[in-house]
């Protein structure tokens, strides 16, 4: 298998060097901004209902968290409600409302405001932070982009795009590097960096799906927190309903009291 992998790699490298493949596919002469605008058109969620699972893996052990999430976003502010449905956490809910995080405890039926520092912490011990999971960002509103390369990744032609936070914005990550599918305009790989250039996380997309005609989205992703070894978290979307008509008041403090 390793030998076959090397052959494939060499073949791909040859094609790249010859420019045969990429010139054909990626000759659209798009700027970094235009590419990411297309990514946002695909991946940015205005409103949705999502059934998903998070598989947290650490040195061979794993636990599964299952959840149902309602999301609505205007591109800058995301409001979201996530309810866990696996037995250990059943009924536990997180509410992201106007950049503030609230947690609902099902046994006490109580809603408590979670301190702001927790937004950056790992959600349920996973490699995803609360922000990673709950926020739906319009990337073109938050970053400046530059194309820094083109290559083939897992058989797909990709643009490599460097993104730095706009001066007037404070996104969760100061710098990001995206590998964007040149045909489907979805992110196939992403690296997230701190302001000092330290690599914090790497996310790889394992499966993309055409959720509605002409609109592709990642539905199976693996996140690795590079600050700790031996762990990864798989985030898998089992069902997604885009432009979902979320009942009025569903994502609100009142609904959880």
């Amino acid at each position: 298998m390793k030998f076959q992998g090397k052959v494939c790699f060499l073949l791909m490298a040859f094609l790249m060097a010859g420019g045969v493949f990429l010139n054909h596919v990626l000759a659209q002469d798009l700027s970094g901004y235009e590419i990411m605008k297309k990514v946002d058109e695909n991946q940015f969620i205005k409103s949705a209902r999502i059934e998903s699972e998070m598989i947290i893996v650490d040195r061979g052990r794993e636990i599964v968290k299952e959840m149902i999430m309602f999301v609505e976003s205007d591109g800058e502010v995301t409001n979201a409600l996530v309810e866990f449905v696996n037995p250990r956490d059943r009924g536990t809910k997180y509410l992201l409302m106007d950049d503030e995080l609230w947690m609902y405890f099902p046994d006490a039926e109580d809603l408590i405001r979670i301190s702001g520092h927790m937004l950056e912490q790992r959600m349920m011990g996973s490699d995803f932070s609360y922000q990673d999971t709950l926020e739906s960002e319009q990337l073109v509103e938050l970053y400046e982009f530059e194309i820094i390369g083109e290559e083939v990744l897992d058989g797909r032609p990709v643009y490599i795009i460097d993104a730095k936070a706009r001066e007037d914005e404070e996104p969760a990550y100061y710098q990001r590097k995206f590998w964007v599918d040149g045909e489907r305009f979805v992110i196939l790989r992403e690296e997230m960096y701190a302001r000092g250039g330290r690599l914090l996380k790497v996310m790889e997309t394992r499966e993309v799906k055409e959720v509605v005609e002409g609109r592709w989205m990642p539905v199976d992703m693996v996140m690795e927190d590079k600050l700790r070894e031996g762990t990864e978290t798989i985030y898998r979307i089992n069902k997604i309903e885009l432009d979902y008509n979320i009942p009025a008041g569903k994502i609100s403090l009142e609904a959880l009291q």
Partner: protein, 367 residues
């Protein structure tokens, strides 16, 4: 002659019928979940004692019917060889345009992130050394939304096995909650009978005050300021509480593990009452540092996520009257498959020479 105003059994039958009415069209959708927990421990005070206990909870997830929903949670316990089966929660909730009314045995928790909530309805403990005690009442609660997250609620509770003689044992409370961006305020009021000795046979505790939680830069802060009045004993006091929480990564040498720290201090300023009066509101197990005559409490909890499944930490409780100090280290690990391991200990010291220690091993299964 004792007049039965609302005997418990009648109350349960009525609730059962009402719950059956809510689920009759959707009986197939009823789901069941819960947990089973076993715990064994060793304690040393003057002598060594061993104990074993088991508890189980069974929740019926009943489908809501329009604006009517029901909750039924049964609880079984085995302690010192005696089995007990009871109802943890059993209520009906009728929604309306701006809120709901809940009738039956229900949790009433007015939390704001503190370990100890001096202004809740009843007395709640939250997440202290992995322990949580949720106050619950038999009663009626009305919740009304005021918009933008603000709300008020009113609650009336009656003692279990209510009779005509015990009508003076009703409790009343209210909470006005008004979150604003970055802050969560609430004004609380409660008037409740004390349930546990010591003290006069009957007494009522009135409490009113304000609770707060918010952020001060990267640190979470919270607190409470309240007035307490013990009716028959004619004692009053002012309670002040201040707390903070913070989390950080401990550096590459420790694989950037996350540490959580929470510290809070509560003081009865007039020293006429103390934290022990809160214990008499509910079923929270007595702690050594909650003795009569203690007027302040310092609590801290520090924990470290060893890996995504395992948390290790210790709680710390202290008071200044006679320097009692309690330490409660704990280790909690999710073993997968719904099984959780919990190992904990406790050490209590005082300047008077009192010493006790204990350790326990628990296993929980969630289904």
């Amino acid at each position: 002659m004792q007049i039965k105003v609302f005997p418990g059994i009648v109350f349960l039958i009525i609730l059962t019928v009402l719950i059956l009415l809510t689920v009759q069209d959707n009986a197939h959708a009823v789901q069941i979940g819960g947990k089973i927990e076993f715990q064994s421990g060793l304690n040393y005070s003057d002598q060594i004692t061993a104990n074993f206990s088991g508890t189980g909870e069974l929740e019926f997830y009943l489908p809501a019917k329009k604006d009517l929903e029901a909750r039924l949670v049964l609880r079984a316990a085995l302690a010192d060889g005696r089995p007990e089966i009871g109802i943890k929660y059993f209520y009906l909730r009728q929604g309306h345009g701006h809120g709901h009314v809940t009738l039956g045995r229900q949790p009433v928790s007015w939390g704001y992130g503190a370990f100890l909530n001096p202004l809740g309805y009843g007395f709640g403990v939250e997440g202290l050394a992995g322990e949580t005690h949720v106050p619950s009442v038999d009663g009626i609660r009305y919740f009304h939304s005021l918009g933008d997250g603000a709300s008020f609620q009113l609650v009336t509770s009656f003692p279990r096995g209510l009779t005509g003689k015990s009508l003076d044992r009703l409790g009343y409370g209210g909470r006005l909650r008004f979150p604003v961006p970055g802050h969560d305020f609430s004004l609380n009021f409660s008037y409740q009978p004390l349930r546990l000795p010591p003290g006069p046979d009957k007494d009522n505790l009135l409490r009113t005050g304000i609770t707060y939680s918010g952020d001060a830069g990267p640190v979470g802060i919270y607190g409470a300021l309240g007035y307490f009045f013990l009716q028959e004993a004619e004692k009053e006091d002012i309670v002040a509480q201040l707390g903070l929480d913070y989390s950080w990564q401990v550096g590459p040498e420790f694989e950037e593990r996350t540490v959580f720290l929470q510290v809070e201090y509560m003081r009865f300023l007039k020293r006429e009452l103390g934290p022990e009066v809160l214990l008499r509101l509910g079923n929270v197990p007595a702690q050594g540092v909650f003795r009569k005559g203690v007027y302040d409490l310092l609590l801290a909890n520090i924990s470290l996520l060893l890996d995504p499944f395992t948390q290790i930490g210790t709680a710390f409780l202290a008071e200044t009257k006679d320097g009692s100090l309690a330490l409660a280290p704990y280790y909690i690990s999710d073993l997968g498959g719904g099984v959780e391991l919990n190992i904990s200990g406790n050490l209590l010291f005082s300047e008077t020479g009192d010493f006790s220690a204990g350790t326990s091993l628990g296993l929980s299964y969630y289904f």
